[in-house]
Amino acid sequence: MKNILLACSSGMSTSLLVTKMEQHAKSIGDEVRIWAVGQDQAKKEMAQADVVLIGPQMSFLKGELQKEADAYGIKVDVIDMMAYGMADGKKAYEQALSLIGEK
């Protein structure tokens, strides 16, 4: 079971991306938990995650969040621009998997 946390300033756009990522994961038979939160919640919730993906509007927080995430040994990255801009769940999911792989 993989746990993927998405965060953006209010958790709105990434909520939609969650649905698309879940659909893709399901279609290839992966068991996952993917959920979205607003930026203030991200630090609290990352303890349960294997990877954290953040929206472009909070990429300036990447360093700060990665510092926190180091305590759990997980990676934080900004969602790929193409994946985000096209609301491409498959691409975002593959990005999350490759980040978990690098753990």
């Binding site: 209010s10 939609l16 929206g55 909070m58 300036f60 621009m81 609301a87």
Partner: protein, 111 residues
Amino acid sequence: MDKIQLESLTEEQISFQLILHSGNARSKIIQSLREYRNGKVEEADELISQAEADLSIAHDIHFQMVQKEASGEKTSFSLLLMHSEDHLMSTLTMKELVKEVLAIFKSKDSK
């Protein structure tokens, strides 16, 4: 980046494009203040220029949407679209303010 044509995107993707480009700008604007704080004035200015380029992409998408509606073609309303408008407008405000703030800092720091 090439100009984005609305026709090639779904309504949802249009909203995501607005948030993406405003969002990139927002991050660069905040980063610009941080660079200035660390004494890196040129880097701060460069980030503001980049943010303006990002915002002009978002603005162009928005302008096409306005044109479309003005020509009688309705855009259907969604909370996501409203949210993306919010992103664009708040980032535009932020950019104007940060530019002014940097100008004030610069004049004070050069004295």
